[in-house]
Amino acid sequence: MKSGSEKKKRLASWKENFADVGAQLFNYLFILLASLLIGAIVILLSGKDPIAAYVALFDGAFGSGLKFADTLDRTTIMILAGIAGSIAFRTNIINLGLEGQLYIGAFAAAWVGFTFHGLPSYVHIPLCILAGVLGGALWTVPVIYLKLSWNIPVLVPTLMMNYIAIRFTEYLIAFPFRDPGAPMAGSPRLAQSARLPRLIQGSTINIGFILAILIAIIAFWFLFKTKTGYEMRMVGLNKDFAAAAGIPVNRSYILALTLSGGTIGLGGAMMIMGFFGRFLGGFSPGYGWDGFMIAIIAQNHPIGVLPAALFYGGLANGAMAMQSATGVPQAVVAMVKGTLVLSVTVKVFIEGMRKRLQQWVI
């Protein structure tokens, strides 16, 4: 009898949760349509046909199995970047250095890939991945030092480290590790044993995509089901509360930055080992910044990152097709992305305000 009522209660709370998720999804759908509508108005104003443009965009992203596979390949880096942003945000660390950590991780993986030859794949690939993760993580060490010893907010140092990383890797491929045979400034090619196995013939999609989804699930488990994740979230929500409870605040900050850097470093490794096959200067059009936005859209939830990353991957892949088919510039896509992020931010902000207002009224 008692367990029956317990079951009923649980069912009710499930139903509530579903209603909640449903309302959230509806919200997002609305925001998405509004963003596309604003994009359409701009396209219309520039004298082009918005419907044709969006059809071309959609077709380019999802129009065939292979196109869809390529979109999923783009999604890999978007997922990892979004997870990297979310982990830091959850600890209330604004890691503006994802882009730099991406470059360093990518180069570290590339170096292991082109320096060592004759290793079997099952050794070489993990080694490259490890190098990418360590590269991204270690690039945050100066920021951690500044934060812990001088109490400098990470915002500025992480941002500055981006420029150092991008220029430093440019130097590395221009001089010490230059491959004269490369079409652009780039490193030597990775050994074949360091390349990620592709999943489908005709598309660049590789096992990196599966790894990225695994990472998202692990990140979810880590943040919500482990002691360390609990500590990081509590520090992020109220560090004074955490300190008074005896939760190690500084350790949480260190972990947030290194795990965030390591995750995006892994993303860099995936791009080099899966897509490019060598390190190319300026290879990222801003994946680190996309990660930042994806985390915002997903409200720092690792599972929410998956659809947001797929959307970003689709836009990235479809934009090119749209431009070549209809002449509508890719910049329109950037605008739709921007509107979307802005709308989500405003929505979160309004919800926060409403809650605060309710508290005031009560």
Partner: protein, 509 residues
């Protein structure tokens, strides 16, 4: 002498509280009037009414002989009444001059005329004998100078009645002396000053007349030359009969918490706790009385390992803890109910269970290896919610949706529910919560002491301290004075120590 300001029969009630009860007051032009009283006596409410922030339920306000209705601070300023709040309202990144003239800047077209702005501010400062570097950025200057800017901000708007809400609370001794010189200057130029304080020594030094408030009533007004600290303290604390005593006989055991020569700095690196010795025994409730801001917070934070100490030793059961981490100190058996529950008691955006396990999550049965055992956590949270009667839909509710009293029950459940603590440090545990909630928290503390733990109850609410404590110490200017065990004379002794520290101590004994 002509009257600057008077009020007749002002009454102001808030839900459950009569903040001002039929208060009448008459202030002469060109004098300094101090309003003294304990926390919650109604001083600030009265001043907020005079500044137009609150409207009284009944009663009249006269400014310069004319009856006025003040519906907002702009009305008050137009009538010549300005107020400097305890917490400054300055834009940190602006210069002092920009802050002083904020909103009434001299204009050139649509732009602010910076030169005229600086000149006009300097002119006002000179007129009243204020030293100020008006071009300095506010966040770079001392608190004393920020306060000068706040006062000038009022004077810049042509105010001649100035209300200062505890102006010395944030100042060093040196800055206080400087402030008093400036206030004297102002009075000589015909400005009238109302000054809220609970520091009786300062009040006697600076004011002409002193009005004492208690429980919303104006007890009386005395001339500075015809009174002394001990009379004022008596007026503030009163001779109430000791009603509502909740504590009955205690079995005192061994010394559990032993503090020796503890010195601590505050956030501004000023000495906040000065060479304090304290002993806390098993089974007793030690009351820590004192006006807020006399070192209580810093003392508690030092014990918890949240604030570095300058010197001294802290022992629990003989074990030195002053160099341990907060977690190690808590594992040594310290429970802590912080004074600001929203700042350091809970994370309001976390759910209830997340706030309930913060002291236990890392050990079995709540965790296993690196994972949390969520079913165990849910069970424990439900148990604590039941036994501490937290009104919440369940462990998964957002903590911020709970009332203050229920949030305090969440904290009490976490800190006291597992019955592990040897020392309970409860800082303002019932501040701002409903009566039933306060009563419940007090009962929990008593139960805890009866079980043999040592309870240190720090509260600015004297009645609460008197109702619960076996023994009382008083925080005054960073020092701790022992008022002895509970008896008929304790209210008087505590009251005097609270307002004047060691000055009265010989008299009391």
């Amino acid at each position: 002498m002509p009257e600057a300001l008077s009020v007749k029969s002002i009454t102001k009630t808030f839900p459950n509280v009569v903040a001002n009860d039929n208060v009448s007051l008459f202030v002469k032009k060109g004098t300094i009037r101090a309003i003294v009283g304990e926390n919650g006596a109604g001083k600030t409410t009265l001043m907020n009414i005079l500044y137009g922030l609150y409207q009284p339920d009944s009663g009249q306000i006269f400014i310069k002989g004319e009856e006025v209705k003040l519906s907002n601070p702009r009305d008050a300023i137009a009538r010549g009444v300005g107020m400097v709040h305890q917490h400054f309202k300055l834009v940190p990144s602006y210069t002092l001059a920009q802050n002083i003239a904020l909103g009434v800047e001299p204009k050139k077209g649509i732009f602010v005329n910076q030169d005229r702005l600086n000149q006009s501010v300097q002119a006002i400062a000179q007129k009243y004998g204020f030293e100020i570097n008006e071009k300095e950025v506010t966040l770079d200057v001392s608190v004393g100078e920020q306060q000068r800017a706040e006062i000038l901000k009022a004077l810049y708007r042509g105010v001649d009645i100035l209300i200062l809400d505890e102006p010395t609370a944030v100042l060093t001794d040196m800055e206080t002396k400087e402030l008093f010189v400036m206030l004297r200057n102002l009075v000589e130029q015909g400005i009238t000053i109302l000054f809220i304080s609970h520091k009786l020594r300062e009040v006697l030094e600076i004011s002409d007349d002193i009005s004492v408030m208690r429980n919303g009533k104006l007890i009386g007004t005395v001339n500075r030359d015809e009174t002394d600290e001990c009379q004022l303290a008596e007026m503030m604390v009163g001779r109430e009969t000791l009603g509502g005593r909740m504590r009955k006989g205690a079995e005192i055991g061994d010394c559990i918490l032993h503090v020796e020569g503890l010195s601590v700095l505050d956030n501004r690196d000023l000495s906040a706790v000065k060479d304090v010795d304290l002993e806390l025994f098993a089974g007793e409730i030690l009351g820590g009385a004192g006006v807020d801001g006399n070192g209580q917070e810093e003392f508690v934070e030092a014990i918890l390992g949240l604030r570095p100490i300058v010197s001294g030793k802290i022992r629990i059961d003989g074990q030195e803890i002053q160099d341990l981490t907060t977690r190690e100190i808590r594992e040594a058996g310290v429970a802590y109910i912080p004074s600001d529950r929203y700042r350091s008691g809970v994370a309001v955006d976390a759910v209830v269970w997340e706030n309930m396990i913060s002291g236990e999550y890392y050990s079995p049965p709540l965790s296993k290896g690196m994972s949390l055992v969520l079913p165990e956590i849910q069970d424990l949270s439900k148990k604590l919610i039941d036994s501490f009667q937290v009104m919440t839909p369940g462990p998964n509710a957002k903590t911020g949706t709970l009332s203050g009293g229920n949030i305090q029950r969440v904290i009490a459940g976490r800190e006291l529910g597992l019955e592990k603590a040897k020392v309970v440090i409860a800082s303002q545990p019932t501040r701002g919560i409903d009566i039933a909630g306060a009563e419940a928290i007090r009962k929990m503390l008593i139960n805890y002491a009866n079980r043999g733990a040592a309870v240190f109850l720090i509260s600015a609410d004297l009645d609460e301290v008197l109702a619960l404590s076996d023994r009382i110490v008083v925080f005054y200017e960073g020092k701790v004075f022992d008022a002895g065990y509970y008896d008929e004379g304790i209210r008087q002794r505590v009251g005097k120590l609270m307002t004047s520290g060691e000055d009265c101590i010989d008299e009391i004994r």
